[in-house]
């Protein structure tokens, strides 16, 4: 197939033309992540054009945001990226605190880092499991969910919910951690460490997995930046950008004193790559394999952050401090803040006219921009590659359609 696309990958024209078929993949297709419809123009097995159709899960949360107060909007942010609801709450809370110039207590800050990173691990586990499902292997999905259940149990003890928590809110958190929670969290981390090698053996170094993902859906740096992609999708193309380090002052202040390296390939190798499987020979920077590998590295990175957060959280003795009043007035003006969510940079833009109800609540979704690249990546690939590429982008429809 390669010789056909040698000079210009964009032009795919066979003289022997079976008729071009317009094929629908989704919205009820088992492989896509939720209700996403891809209209493929295929010529035999080769896909010449992909057009994603979204909007099936559109609830217009932004319109609702203009009729309720800032703290009442928190449950709506849970339902945007329902796999990483804590990070969504954190993003909205920080945006409102930036507008109010509100400073949370030291204890709340460390607890927020602890919970957000734990939720990142859970989200990446789902991403990894679902990606295995897209490529046809069922078992990793169950291994991933077995570990994620343990994290959800921890969250359930902390805030009572397993998926849509509304735990982190404007001005701090709704409640402090129960006693013994930290020990249970540490024991989870201990037994989770060796299991990561299991995932690598199951997927990352699996010859068939490498054959299905290496050098497929290659996205160059410029394309990723031009489309506004972010998170593991951007870092998979070698762009060294992580909002926890390069973001706004109020967000990076949260990660003050935490030592972590951004999981991106710098001049040929990943940070601390001695104890991870080597990059396979035919994997090109920016392909599906690298995006997947960056997520696996971020799981380990988040585990270190959680350990550091546990130590700092138990060290500081101050009160947790309770969140702002429900009808606390927001100063007039606008504020935009992007936080590093597992899927990418999730931005919240609030315009306030001085009352407790925002005049305009805008949510910029990372998966929205990540998905926009699909038609560039899927041009000229095979039908079996489309779920592989869309799976590697790890999109969540709740966040895209809002």
């Amino acid at each position: 197939m390669a010789h056909l696309l040698d000079d210009d990958p964009r032009i795919i024209e066979f003289d022997v033309r079976t008729d071009e078929m317009l094929v629908n993949m989704g919205p009820q297709h088992p492989s896509t992540h939720g209700v996403l419809r891809l209209v493929l123009r295929t010529d035999g097995e080769v896909v010449s054009e992909v057009e994603p159709h979204i909007g099936y899960l559109h609830r217009c949360a932004e319109k609702i945001g203009e009729n309720i107060t800032h703290r009442q909007f928190i449950p709506y942010t849970d339902r945007m990226d329902y796999l990483a609801a804590m990070n969504m709450n954190l993003g909205w809370a920080l945006a409102v605190e930036k507008l109010m110039k509100y400073q949370v207590s030291e204890r709340a800050r460390h607890l927020r880092v602890l919970i957000a990173e734990l939720n990142r691990i859970a989200s990446h586990l789902v991403g990894m499991g679902a990606y295995g499902l897209d490529l046809g292997t069922f078992s990793p999905f169950l291994y991933a969910f077995r570990e994620r259940e343990k994290i959800l149990d921890l969250f359930e003890e902390a805030c009572g919910a397993r998926l849509t928590y509304s735990y982190i809110t404007v001005g701090g958190l709704t409640a402090d951690l129960p006693t013994g929670w930290l020990q249970r969290c540490e024991s989870f981390l201990e037994q989770f460490e060796p299991i990561i090698q299991e995932y690598h053996a199951l997927l990352t170094t699996n010859a068939i997995f490498v054959k299905r993902t290496a050098n497929i859906g290659v996205m160059s740096r410029e394309l990723a930046i031009d489309y506004g992609c972010s998170g593991p999708v951007l870092r998979g193309s070698g762009v060294d950008q992580d909002m926890r380090r390069d973001g706004e002052a109020i967000y990076t202040a949260m990660y003050e004193g935490y030592a972590f390296e951004v999981a991106v390939m710098k001049d040929g190798h990943y940070p601390r790559d001695h104890d991870y499987p080597a990059v396979p020979a035919d994997a090109v920077l920016g392909d599906c394999w690298h995006r997947f590998f960056v997520r696996m590295l971020e799981v380990v990175q988040s585990m270190d952050l959680v350990r550091q957060a546990i130590d700092r959280y138990s060290a500081c003795k101050g009160p947790l401090g309770d969140p702002v009043k429900l009808t606390e007035k927001m100063p007039a003006g606008d504020a935009y803040l992007e936080t590093e969510c597992p899927k990418g940079q999730m931005g919240f833009y609030i315009v306030s006219d001085g009352s407790a109800i925002p005049w305009r609540a805008r949510a910029r979704s990372s998966s929205f921009s990540n998905l926009a690249v699909t038609h560039e990546l899927c041009r000229g690939c095979l039908i079996a590659d489309v779920p592989a590429i869309v799976g590697s982008l790890d999109v969540v429809m709740g966040e895209i359609d809002r």
Binding site: D8, E13, F14
Partner: protein, 244 residues
């Protein structure tokens, strides 16, 4: 119902062949013959192309049954593998690819069927006459070779005829095996394959449509020109944004 019929048919023939039992054997002979001819007629009569192909599969399958019945297991298996398993799979494959709307049902006009009928009858008459004229076929079935073996055929293919011992030393048979015809046929098939591959190769060249589609995605140089394109675009574009 169908699987039970097939299993009984297959198993009945599977029971060891008693020599003495003529009418049981001929019962099966008539069954297979009827299936073969019946579906052959069905191939001609069917209108949907894919059904034609399927009836062909059944009729050739029945012919394979006839070979097994006659004790020629090797040829029967060969028929199953080459004809039914190979040629007809490609035939159905080809039919499936082209069986889009225009070709699905091919109905000849009245005149064609008349001509075809005449030619068919003439051919049938010639065949019958030739078959009946062969002396050794006329007496009733003398009996089936008790232990049909594939090995003589195999050895013959390699060039050593073991079934008819020639004159001269036992170790050297004078009757030539089938090596030469076998090689000729394989070379012939090779040439046919290469030809087919050459014809079906994908000739790749740039056509205007592809270039125009690619160009319009490039950001246009000046903003003004860009504005002109957008202004007159119709509001409701087609499902797949091909309306560029």
């Amino acid at each position: 119902m169908m699987p039970y019929v097939a299993t009984i048919a297959a198993a009945l023939f599977a029971a060891p062949l008693p020599l003495a039992f003529i009418n049981w054997h001929s019962f099966f002979f008539f069954l297979f013959a009827a299936v073969a001819c019946g579906f052959a007629v069905a191939v001609v009569a069917a209108d949907s192309v894919v059904r034609m192909a399927f009836y062909l599969v059944l009729s050739l399958g029945a012919t394979a049954g006839l070979f097994f019945l006659a004790g020629a297991e090797f040829v029967g298996a060969m028929q199953l593998m080459i004809y039914v398993g190979g040629t007809l799979v490609l035939l159905v494959f080809g039919v499936m690819l082209t069986a889009q709307a225009p070709f699905v049902s091919i109905k000849g006009s009245g005149r064609d069927s008349v001509v075809a009928g005449v030619v068919g009858v003439v051919l049938l008459a010639v065949l019958l006459q030739a078959a009946l004229s062969v002396a050794s076929w006329r007496q009733p079935a003398a009996g089936i070779v008790a232990e049909p073996a594939a090995t003589p055929i195999g050895m013959a293919l390699v060039g050593v005829r073991v079934d008819e011992p020639g004159v001269g030393a036992p170790a050297r048979n004078v009757r030539p095996g089938y090596v030469l015809p076998f090689e000729i046929v394989s070379i012939h098939l090779l040439v046919v394959l290469v030809g087919a591959a050459y014809l079906a190769r994908a000739k790749r060249r740039k056509t205007p449509r592809a270039i125009e589609v690619a160009a319009s995605v490039e950001p246009p140089a000046s903003v003004a020109e860009h504005a002109a394109i957008g202004r007159d675009r119709s509001r409701g574009a087609s499902v797949l944004s091909g309306g560029r």
